[in-house]
Symmetry: C2
Amino acid sequence: MPEVNCPKCSSKMRVDWRRNNTLTHFFYSCPSCELESQIEVEDFLEKKIQEILGIKSEKLEESIKKGNTKFFISMGIPTLLFKKETGELESGTVIYLSDEIEVIRGFPKIRRTLLLGPSLKNHFQDLIAVEEKMNGYNVRIASINCSDICQDISKNPESNSKGFDEANEDIKHNKIVALTRGGYICPFTTKKAQELMNLDDFFADNPELIICGEMVGTDNPYVSQYYPEVGKLAFRVFDIRHKLSNEPLSIDAKRKLLKQYNLPAVRLFGVFSADDAQEKILELIKEIGLEHREGVVMKHPSMEIPPLKYTSSQAHDREIKYAFNFPFDFGRAFFFSRVVREGFQAYEMEDSPEELQKRAQRLGESIIYPMMDIIKQINDGEPAVEDTTINVDSKKEAEEFVRHLHDLGVSAMLIEYKDGNAIIRRIYNATNDKIKNYLNGGLY
Amino acid sequence: MPEVNCPKCSSKMRVDWRRNNTLTHFFYSCPSCELESQIEVEDFLEKKIQEILGIKSEKLEESIKKGNTKFFISMGIPTLLFKKETGELESGTVIYLSDEIEVIRGFPKIRRTLLLGPSLKNHFQDLIAVEEKMNGYNVRIASINCSDICQDISKNPESNSKGFDEANEDIKHNKIVALTRGGYICPFTTKKAQELMNLDDFFADNPELIICGEMVGTDNPYVSQYYPEVGKLAFRVFDIRHKLSNEPLSIDAKRKLLKQYNLPAVRLFGVFSADDAQEKILELIKEIGLEHREGVVMKHPSMEIPPLKYTSSQAHDREIKYAFNFPFDFGRAFFFSRVVREGFQAYEMEDSPEELQKRAQRLGESIIYPMMDIIKQINDGEPAVEDTTINVDSKKEAEEFVRHLHDLGVSAMLIEYKDGNAIIRRIYNATNDKIKNYLNGGLY
């Protein structure tokens, strides 16, 4: 933020967060003579951001015009979020506007291969490192600089949302935060990440790095899946990246660093030659599929080539089941892409006729059974909802998390809090409304 | 068309179809002094159409602006086609601009019930006539007035498309034509309809009526399905409607008229009370499903309430199989809606656990098997195409039909003509391109 002194009493002015600040216009008010002195600063941020990110002025302006950027205060920090890809910037990129402007780039989309054989040969050159793709939610953890200004703001009860994690503010002007995919700081994840891992040493030594990983386990408010080695909740790191450039460390450098700071990595299944990889990965996928595990991410050891992903039949099936439990919320797009994956996998795996039949039948069952169940359920007066239990320290903390879900556009509510366990309910409105309508004789 | 005399030589002028006429602007040229006299007539048609159809001027203008109307010559007749619903006018409505303006309304969309029980009670009052819904293509047959002007044009080799069915033009100024759903006159259907039925007497007595029905059978270039009672090709009438108003005759009046003129009707399964209908129709659907027949249309005997449709599990399955034979041409939307129908039918039919499992497994097989097959086929160098054989009198007639398919936006070609049999090939480009791309290692 540019420093501005009050033209009347010369005190240091503060950004007036009650007003509608934008990327190109800031309103300041004077804390000494109160509302009597207000000034507006234009273009400061736009110029600053262009300078730092090297993003073209037109692209930035277009993004602002289209509403693809969002400006808000998160945990006391003025934040600019890129909701959609803008020039080189991935969607989910955030810029924190403390005294120092800090950029945390969005996690890059990992492209999928439908047929391992030809894509691996096309895409990679020599070696392929195969890591496990776990089924949880994508998190970026970073240490961000927190200026006097934002501390002031975070103590101001007028501000939109406050960190419930006040303790962190003692770490002089540095804050460790955890962002979910879209670029919002998740208070739950921020707290849990620091309970699950000692991150202070890592970030004290490497403030310019970002830890990217998956939060997994059954007590996971976004994507709950049981992993025997995890149980309720754990974090697994898959990438370490540089803040501003988003450049990843090589596989070796990453693993060395994680070992040094005792941070948990996702499983590395091995490093295969491009020639062997298809066969090895198909075997692996069958094996981990039987354990109901998700899939793999294939990376060049140098990380200079973008990674690819590939998933198990059981994962497709589980997602199709989920989609058809809430068919009118998830059906169309969700569904087709997963069915296509199954088709290509069946082709490449050369299933025996019996295996192929089983795969096909299982797919049909994953569609019809959940759909039947949800129609029955809604007919019995029970709505389409999904409950998750999360472990929190207080009801306030649970409420904070629900507010965060609302920020993400998720329809959710806290339905119970007892002894540190909070039950969060998501409501699937499209499924409820449509099925009710058909049950009442509505036409398709 | 308004009559216009040449300002130079006073001869009767003709619309100049080589120029880009629109609903609001017509170009005339003089046949006597040739290109030397051209005039433009504005707004004539717009006013005339408003007068006849009672459609609001703004709606009509909007439809023209959006490109939802199309103006062309079809079988020698200047034609205005409503490609999309406009005010009260159904999509597929055509206006023939001979001396008399004739309106053939689009066939109204029949809404679908997902659950018979509640919808029948909601929708119908007392009695429900249940007719068979056959799997072919929707055809409207009408007799249209053909003025001197359009006969002149149809003989002009410059015009876009000529009827191959020249014989009809002898029936002084009246022409029987068959339109497919979108509102285009199909030369193949026009000819076959008259071979299959004696329509002259009916239309001589009832020029203001339209026969609506389904062309079915295996030698069907649009939708080929075997019906034992049909074989290669047959027509079944399901509605008789008034030209301008689109009002249908009652079930009784329709059947009486069809009997009188010896025209074939779709099967009437019976007329049930609203209370019995659900049970009767569910039984019926199971029964005809086992014969791989499509479904039923439920109508109020008076036809004063819009009909509803309901289809068999086997029909859904067949369509899903078809969709997954050309997954990237038909997948997404096509698929989801059929799967939803299966879910609701399973719910309402109260399948036993074994029946339910079979239904689910069959659905999965209908997805995976065709998808596997097409991937293999394309990998073997054989493209995704669909061949149909039609019976025609000449190669010229077959070519005419392919041109008609192109008008409909269908990618098709004549690949063989021999002894009255023409093989028409449709090419599924999206499926070919995408699967080839994935087989070559393209990413999803």
